[in-house]
């Protein structure tokens, strides 16, 4: 019986281990620095003298969008399951929090967690139901799901349809908060979800997601349980978007089927993930910003906003199919490669002659 191939083999040479450690650390360092800068800037933003109230509100709105797009990126970017239905999870999160607040007086933070959890349960169920779907079928399936949820919130009385549900002012730990306070709640939540996504995609679970995305045959033959990991990806993705949904509903103290019964959120979130770079940690940041800001600045010219969005989307697909974040990351990656070489860390890592390869058809 084979004891263990990896223990009986020669120990790994320290050189390659050091190289790997360096690689992983520089990569991580960059992410930390970027994230640190971003969150520091966001933290200071509302305190700046020229910033007005509506900007803070809009800022919170962008943060929520980024978070929702993070949810999409887990499923579409890392696991390769295209979703055109994440607006449904946004709605589920929003309605859960809103109904809990209305009927039980639950405040923002527990409402957010509840919204995420209920959404995750739906995500789990959907993952199971659509276990065998891929590609276009998954897209249509999730789209159908979003419409289904839309039809429910429009028609089932408890959701109060297009009249909508008005909510009392938000409180956190018993203190009433305004837009300003809410901005910080959203910011802290985004920091937490970002930390989590970062940890997730670098973990063995994230590796399994990517494996399923790139070749489910190879993944399964390596022991990745498709059922487990697909439903896990669905649940996590739905959880994050659900949390964003709760915030999205609570920030305006009002939710209605007019907003959540529509497919627009679903489509926008997919666009956010794709434009930014759905398999990049900072992709949703760029994409979320883009999608949240375009209609805002062009509200007067609603139709131009549409055209602009379409042209921008196609331009990104043609010029940067892996998303804007990937284009931004390119020089950073080149820089890292150069640094590694300069440090004399391992010139062989940059390029090494392979074994000669032969022919074959």
């Amino acid at each position: 019986m084979a004891e263990s191939i990896t223990t009986t083999a020669a120990p790994a040479p320290s050189g390659s281990r050091a190289a790997v450690a360096t690689l992983k650390n520089t990569f991580q360092m960059q992410n930390w620095v970027l994230a640190g800068l971003f969150f520091a800037a966001c933290f200071v933003f509302p305190l700046l003298p020229f910033v007005e109230g509506w900007m803070v509100f809009q800022g919170a709105f962008i943060i929520i969008y980024i978070m929702a797009a993070q949810g999409v990126s887990i499923l579409t970017g890392y696991t390769g399951l295209v979703t055109v239905g994440h607006g449904a999870f946004l709605a589920i999160g929003a309605y859960t929090a809103a109904l809990l607040m209305k009927y039980t007086g639950l405040s923002v933070i527990p409402g957010m967690i509840a919204g995420g959890l209920v959404s995750a349960v739906f995500g789990l169920a959907l993952g199971l139901v659509f276990l065998r779907l891929a590609g276009a079928f998954m897209a249509i399936g999730t789209l159908g799901f979003a419409f289904f949820i839309g039809a429910i919130v429009n028609n089932v009385p408890i959701f109060e349809g297009r009249t909508g549900i008005s909510l009392p002012p938000n409180t956190v730990f018993g203190f009433e908060i305004d837009d300003f306070g809410f901005y910080y709640v959203a910011l802290v939540t985004l920091a937490l979800t970002t930390l989590f996504v970062h940890s997730l995609i670098r973990s063995g679970v994230g590796r399994a997601f990517k494996a399923l995305r790139d070749s489910d045959k190879a993944a399964e033959s390596s022991g990745v349980n498709r059922l487990l990991y697909r439903t896990l990806a669905f649940s996590i993705s739905a959880f994050i978007t659900g949390v964003a949904g709760a915030l999205n509903g609570l920030i305006v103290n009002y939710i209605s089927a007019e907003v959540y019964g529509d497919i627009w959120y679903s489509v926008d979130l997919l666009v956010a993930a794709v434009v930014g770079g759905s398999a990049m940690l900072f992709g949703p940041f760029l994409g979320g910003f883009f999608v949240a800001m375009v209609p805002f600045y062009l509200e007067e010219l609603a139709d131009f906003a549409f055209i602009l969005k379409g042209v921008a989307l196609i331009a990104v697909l043609v010029l940067a199919p892996a998303g804007v974040a990937e284009v931004v990351a390119r020089p950073v990656r080149a820089w890292r490669q150069r640094k590694l070489l300069e440090a004399g860390e391992s010139p062989e890592l940059a390029d090494a002659p392979g074994p000669p390869t032969g022919g074959g058809s």
Binding site: T357, G358, G359, S361
Partner: protein, 244 residues
């Protein structure tokens, strides 16, 4: 005058160099076999000749035309019809629709109708099934359909990729009998890519043996039938000794 000539052709398939300098020539009216085990590069040659892959080095010439940069559409118009490997018929098209697609490059209605009669006479099994979907045919019938479909282009040369693949010996014999007949009656040039040495050498005039993207042995079919190297290339080096 030589009909088809490959000169030092190299083809890269993604990162793999699948052909490493192939030279061969096919005289008009002859049957030439290209033999080789799996992975020798046989299908790559087919794709290079029919225009699906472009050679990185070397030349492919047909009847004085350089094929290197031509599209499959232009190549079929010059007179090379391909019978792809693996019985690639259109499964959701009926037999007669498959034949009609074989003649896609032509627009002479009368000639097409005439040729359809002709190929159905060559393959009587197909005649009874013109309305049947390609996918419902048996393996042998599908192979016959791919050949018939190739003939519909009224080519000067038919390029066949492993026509014996996965077929029972009796059906293989039947198919090769018809191929010989096409060659004899119409003077059609045939380039047959094969793994089945026996049947190929029995029916060819001249043959090339391909190994790891190179031609290692060539000669008349008779010469090769006696040649132990051919067997060796199939059965591993020790088989050489064993067979000897």
């Amino acid at each position: 005058m030589t009909l088809l000539r490959l000169r030092d052709v190299e083809v890269n398939y993604g990162a793999v160099r699948a052909l490493r300098g192939i030279s061969l020539s096919v005289e008009p009216g002859t049957v030439v076999a290209l033999l080789g085990a799996n992975g020798a590069g046989k299908s790559t040659i087919q794709k290079a000749i029919s225009g699906l892959l472009k050679p990185t080095v070397g030349d492919i010439e047909f009847d004085g035309h350089r094929l290197n940069s031509l599209s499959p559409r232009e190549i079929i118009r010059l007179g090379i019809a391909t019978v792809p490997e693996g019985r690639k018929i259109f499964k959701d098209l009926s037999v007669s629709e498959n034949l009609r697609m074989g003649a896609y490059s032509r627009s002479d209605r009368a000639g097409i109708a005439q040729d359809q009669e002709m190929v159905l006479d060559l393959f009587p099994v197909l005649k009874e099934r013109t309305k049947q979907l390609g996918g419902s045919l048996s393996g042998g019938e599908q192979q016959m359909l791919t050949i018939a479909r190739g003939l519909m282009a009224r080519p000067r040369m038919l390029l066949l990729d492993e026509p014996s693949l996965g077929l029972a010996p009796l059906i293989i014999a039947d198919i090769f009998r018809i191929l010989k007949k096409i060659n004899a009656d119409k003077g059609m040039t045939l380039l047959i890519i094969e793994q089945n040495v026996h049947v190929a050498l029995q029916n060819a005039d001249y043959a090339y043996v391909l190994q790891l993207g190179r031609v290692t042995v060539e000669g008349t079919a008779k010469e090769l039938q006696e040649n132990r190297e051919v067997i060796a290339s199939y059965m591993g080096t020790q088989a050489h000794a064993a067979a000897g």
